[in-house]
């Protein structure tokens, strides 16, 4: 394809991505280095019949003028990154010295907002991803063994948890595990503890969020594995059988090697998706027990006072995290496509 034709064909989508993805990233980085202006304080002398008193007051005009003049705010450098709500560099040292052991240190670290969010996000990502793969595989094998006639409906219902809006899917589960809902009642009956409530317990809340995560993304792994199982080479399977391979050996030496490339694909997609975990925390109203990086940004932006700089700093840190997770995908794509072209 000629250069000029290529240029005109990709121009519209390139402009869209430049304006609404690339520029916002630049703008987020710049914003994270600035902070809102402090109000201009002036000293006013009030002189009355009983002498003069000095008082400080806010110079509204000067403040407005300053804000008008530099809408980005005051340049703060890395100050916002280092404050208590983000990397908390000043707090970590004393915390380390005060703590009695590594467990104690982590416990105290989890009281700092950024590390609390980071802790949950990473735990969620690295617990849910392997479970998704395992469950997806088991379901795919089970569906593949079912009669052909009922596979259609089986796939239809399997797709539901994934296709439904995450906020809605998690709400549906949340209403069921509510203390007054059906699963909540069942849990209380099972645990034989009338006061048991998922909402009130941090551990249960984490488990519930991860159960939701697996429920939501297992269908994706299932579909990919199921499609993979359709393309297993039957000749190889038959040859293995003739050579006397048992059922397990057939799976171990023929099916699993065939599905391995798919597993890397699923794992990488899931790592990226789980890292942005956000909606279930809103639905489960779980912010007291678990927060994630995305939720922290949402919270900064949505509050009464919009903390743009703080949100921007968390965004930059999140993007860094995504970049680290993404690097294997990039390398893989580079190898696959880069050589081909």
């Amino acid at each position: 394809m000629k250069h000029s034709a290529f240029f005109w064909f990709v121009l519209p989508s390139a402009v869209a991505m430049l304006l609404f993805i690339f520029f916002p990233i630049v703008s987020v980085v710049i914003q994270s280095l600035h902070t809102a202006h402090e109000q201009v304080i002036i000293e006013v002398e009030n002189c009355g019949p009983f002498g003069c008193t000095k008082a400080t007051a806010i110079d509204q005009e000067a403040t407005a003028a300053l804000r008008e003049d530099q809408p980005l705010g005051r340049f703060a450098g890395l100050e916002i990154y280092k404050d208590r709500n983000h990397l908390a560099t000043a707090e970590i040292g004393p915390l380390w010295e005060q703590s009695t052991g590594i467990g104690d240190f982590i416990g105290k670290l989890m009281n700092l907002p950024f590390y609390k969010a980071m802790g949950f996000t990473l735990t969620f990502t690295f617990v849910v991803t392997p479970l998704t793969i395992i469950f997806g595989f088991i379901i795919a094998v089970a569906v593949n063994s079912a009669a052909r006639a009922i596979r259609g409906p089986l796939i239809f219902f399997s797709l539901l948890p994934m296709m439904v809006t995450p906020l809605i899917g998690s709400l549906i589960l949340f209403w069921m595990v509510d203390a007054r809902g059906i699963l909540g009642t069942a849990l209380r009956w099972l645990a034989d503890d009338p006061s048991l409530s998922v909402k009130a317990d941090t551990g249960l809340m984490w488990i519930m969020l991860m159960v939701y995560g697996v429920w939501h993304s297992a269908p994706f792994a299932f579909i990919v594995y199921y499609a993979g199982l359709q393309t297993v080479n039957t000749d190889t399977l038959e040859a293995a059988r003739i050579d006397g391979a048992s059922r397990w050996q057939q799976i171990r030496h023929v099916v699993i090697p065939h599905l391995l490339p798919l597993t890397t694909f699923i794992a990488l997609m899931q790592l990226m998706d789980n890292f942005r975990v956000f909606e279930p925390i809103v639905s489960f109203n779980a912010s007291a027990h678990a927060t994630s990086l995305s939720w922290a940004i949402y919270n900064d932006l949505g509050g009464e006072t919009q903390q743009l700089s703080s949100a921007a700093a968390t965004s930059v840190l999140t993007i860094t995290g995504v970049a680290i997770l993404l690097s294997p995908v990039l390398v893989r794509t580079y190898r696959d496509y880069g050589k081909a072209t």
Binding site: A16, S158, M163, M176
Partner: protein, 293 residues
């Protein structure tokens, strides 16, 4: 068939059936339960006294005189004006899908046909953009949108969603166009068509299966979005998902939680139909990236 030749032992067969039944219950039961419960009053769906109330509808009968009630639906759709959110969602999805596909087919076609190195880098950058959580971009939008006074309007949300969808759309259409033989448009160009005429008269008639599948996924992205629409639409212009989230903030008063339940069921219903009719396309779309490479 080779499969029949090797009969499964009974134990294995039983285990597989149990797995299937458990998974089906886990996947489908919550939706049917919520659908059933949405026709009850709060006292039944969230019953402290006896969980079987939701089956018998005891409180519902006591409060409304019938075992089923549409109070939740009328409350959500009429009293809380959920119809407005539904209309906004329709507009957003319609425009996002149309614009995304128009931009995406042009770009995806060019990327599939170009043999130069920069096409690969373009795709790689799109992949990086695709991995960005949308919420991280929002703090970049807000100050600019406030300054230009375009915050809160539907067109703003539509353009933003189109842009966020673009990397995904490009990747998907790129792989679909790769599967359309190159000879097709090249022979048209030998016959004297320009590149655009070849695209217009030869490629467009055969590209629909891929476009429909991609369209489904951009529809889902727009329909399901919460992070962006919640932050850049004002109350009047909210789409369905942020509207449901705003119900949750006001569920303190009795009965309002049933509005949210009814709204949730109303929002899920179109998705249900969509999956039912387009199951094949969805499955092929999900596996396009993985199996075909």
């Amino acid at each position: 068939m080779a499969n029949q030749a090797q009969k499964r032992p009974v134990v294995l067969q039983a285990i597989l059936v149990i797995i299937l039944i458990t998974w089906m219950i886990a996947a489908a039961f919550p939706f049917f339960w919520t659908l059933w419960g949405s026709f009850k009053v709060e006292g039944d769906f969230f019953s402290l006294a006896d969980w079987t109330n939701v089956l018998t509808g005891e409180m519902t009968t006591r409060e409304t005189g019938d075992a089923f009630t549409t109070q939740g639906y009328s409350g959500a759709w009429i009293q809380e004006e959920f119809w407005r959110a539904a209309w906004n969602s329709t507009l957003v999805c319609l425009f996002v899908v149309t614009i995304s596909l128009t931009l995406g087919t042009l770009g995806g076609y060019a990327l599939a046909r170009s043999t130069y190195r920069y096409a690969f880098w373009f795709l790689l950058i799109a992949l990086i953009f695709r991995a960005m959580p949308p919420i991280t971009l929002v703090s970049g939008y807000l100050p600019v949108f406030f300054q230009w006074n375009i915050w809160g309007y539907l067109p703003t949300a539509i353009i933003v969603l189109v842009a966020i969808n673009q990397p995904f759309t490009l990747w998907m259409l790129h792989s679909f166009f790769k599967n359309i033989p190159q000879d097709l448009d090249e022979s048209a160009m030998v016959d004297g068509c320009t590149r655009f005429q070849a695209f217009r008269h030869v490629i467009i008639p055969v590209m629909w299966p891929g476009v429909i599948t991609t369209g489904l996924f951009s529809f889902l992205l727009a329909y399901n979005d919460f992070a962006v629409t919640a932050m850049i639409l004002d109350k009047q212009n909210q789409t369905m998902v942020p509207k449901i989230a705003s119900f949750l903030g006001t569920t303190q008063t009795k009965g309002n939680v049933m509005f949210a339940v009814a709204a949730v069921v109303s929002t899920t219903a179109p998705l249900f139909l969509l999956i039912m009719f387009f199951q094949r396309q969805i499955v092929s779309g999900l596996t396009a990236g993985a199996v075909k490479g």
